[in-house]
Amino acid sequence: MTKTAFLTDSTICIGCKACEVACKEWNEVPADGMDWSGLSYDNTKSLGASTWRHVLFLEQPQAAGPQIADTQDPFRWIFLSDVCKHCANSGCLEACPTGSIVRTEFGSVFVQPDICNGCGYCVVSCPFGVIDRRPEDGRAFKCTFCYDRQKVGLMPACATACPTQSIQFGPLDELRERAKTRVMELQERGYADARVYDPQETSVGGIHAFFVILGEPENYNLPPAPEVPTVYLKSAWTSAFVSAAVLFTVVCAAFAVR
């Protein structure tokens, strides 16, 4: 089966939040609070167990250049629809002790809700801070990449609802090409800081839901160099074995002395 992907282009996004609504409706995701955050028009603040699409609203102090809001005090206003990255080397999938989190035939990372026992280890293993445990339910939840829709040949709900096609859905390789072309196009038109966010050079190995962003990834709370935490196992286990050997020696010495 071909691997599918999301290309979310922040330079096209209008911040309408249709993706957030469509995702919630299709997947019957429960309410996640009605806070007025005071942070531009972002009242969702982050992804979570009950937020699988989150629209960011960046206000940057810039009076001229691309994407300026033409108000009395002009500023640069950028919108981005964040989502689970569906990593090629996925921290949550490697961490899951029950085998609940699996790779689907579409290349996405899927949590099987009938197996998850809510141990919470995936929560601290995601380098992007996506997956979380739902308090009332007890299990971990995240974007399913609309596995049920993909199985019958439909596009995910968010991509279907997006009025500007800022969220594009399609085969992974094709969308990666499209992203590169789009960034070149943008740079020609004066968006000097346009880039693709798809950390293929880290241990994560690239993500299946990647982005076209303006400026540094940190501005969007996207980690500049994420690592899948399994790369830390070797040094940690080595320390455990060496320390255990030393401890055993010390204990033997203590009893040998009597």
Binding site: N221, E227, F248, A254
Partner: protein, 333 residues
């Protein structure tokens, strides 16, 4: 004819923000309006904090002590120590092995599905390995206690002795794994204060478990040279660890030095380290002195587990430190 005045003016936005502030708007702890894009997204967390509650630090504490206790039993058997000490050490292992699963199951979001932990065997998941280690340790601890009780009741057959050696040796091995894997569990995660200290944590948890197990043996009356030596070594090591943490204070360790978890960490370190060491040095002849040192260490060990796990909550909410660490290359394995 002029076009109508646009509704989305700065005055209107300011009014909306004022109303939001009056209605107790939550805004990630920052003053609004806030300009984004200064190193993070409005300083909102870019990771999720651990969801674990008190059962998990308590499990780390009890698992550490019971695991190392089984190791002490084996070493004591090898060097022909007091049989009643060996017996107690084996029983501590078994009691710990019985209590630990209950704590872990209680912490699960869906406790009734605890058996799903044994659906897979994933070496790349410390939590999967931990579940199997706990199962294995329980079996070995049970075998050790059962065969030892049989020997003590006169069943001195070669097969019983052989099975006792097997139980004690395997109990020691699985016990050491139980006491140290928890350091790997939190070290191999995305939480910066944990992953940056991943080599230290297994060593610290083992030292802590050893001092705790030896301390319990002292409190039970085994005021022998072996437990005194172990008491000195462990409180000495913890003193060195405490000094190192106070000398090197990288930004990533801020959760251990500030706020309420910083106070917890400092208290734990002082109790396990200098406090128990000094009590042991200056009050070594009297039983009360050794008991006090043991209690200091045990209390410090428990508080230390709590401090490390809860510091993870703070660490998950420091996006600028997290990103700076990645830019500096320190997050590479």
């Amino acid at each position: 004819m002029a076009s109508p005045k646009p509704k989305a003016t700065e005055e209107r936005l300011a009014e909306i923000r004022r109303v939001a502030a009056e209605n107790a708007a939550t805004n990630g702890g920052t003053n609004h309006p806030q300009i984004a894009g200064q190193g993070s997204y409005y300083n909102l967390p870019a990771l999720k904090p651990p969801v674990w509650t008190w059962e998990v630090p308590l499990y780390f504490f009890i698992g550490g002590i019971s695991g190392v206790s089984s190791c002490i039993a084996f070493a004591a058997q090898l060097f022909r120590a007091d049989p009643s000490l060996i017996r107690l050490a084996l029983w501590i292992g078994l009691i710990g092995a019985a209590v630990c699963p209950m704590l872990l199951i209680a912490d699960l979001g869906r406790p009734s599905r605890f058996l799903n932990m044994l659906r897979t065997f994933k070496p790349k998941s410390p939590m999967s390995m931990g579940s199997w280690i706990l199962v294995a340790f329980s079996g070995c601890a049970f075998l050790g206690v059962l065969t030892n009780e049989l020997v003590l009741r006169g069943f001195s057959f070669p097969i019983v002795f052989a099975m006792r050696w097997l139980g004690e040796a395997s109990g020691a091995l699985t016990g050491l794994l139980l006491a140290s894997y928890t350091g790997v569990l939190i070290g191999a995660t995305a939480i910066p204060v944990w992953s940056q200290n991943r080599k230290f944590l297994p060593a610290h948890f083992l030292t802590s478990g050893l001092g705790g197990a030896s301390g319990i043996l002292e409190l039970a009356g085994f005021l022998i040279p072996a437990t005194q030596i172990l008491g000195f070594v462990t409180s000495g090591l913890e003193t060195i660890f405490e000094i190192l943490f106070n000398v090197r204070k990288p930004a990533v360790d801020a959760p251990l030095h500030h706020g309420r978890y910083g106070i917890l960490f400092r208290t734990a370190g002082l109790l396990e380290g200098p406090a128990s060491l000094l009590v042991r040095v200056f009050w070594r002849s009297a039983p009360a002195g050794r008991h006090t040192a043991a209690v200091c260490f045990l209390l410090g060990a428990l508080l230390s587990r709590c401090a490390w796990i809860w510091a993870g909550r703070t660490s998950a909410k420091m996006p600028e430190t997290q990103f700076a660490l990645q830019r500096s290359g320190k997050t590479k394995p």
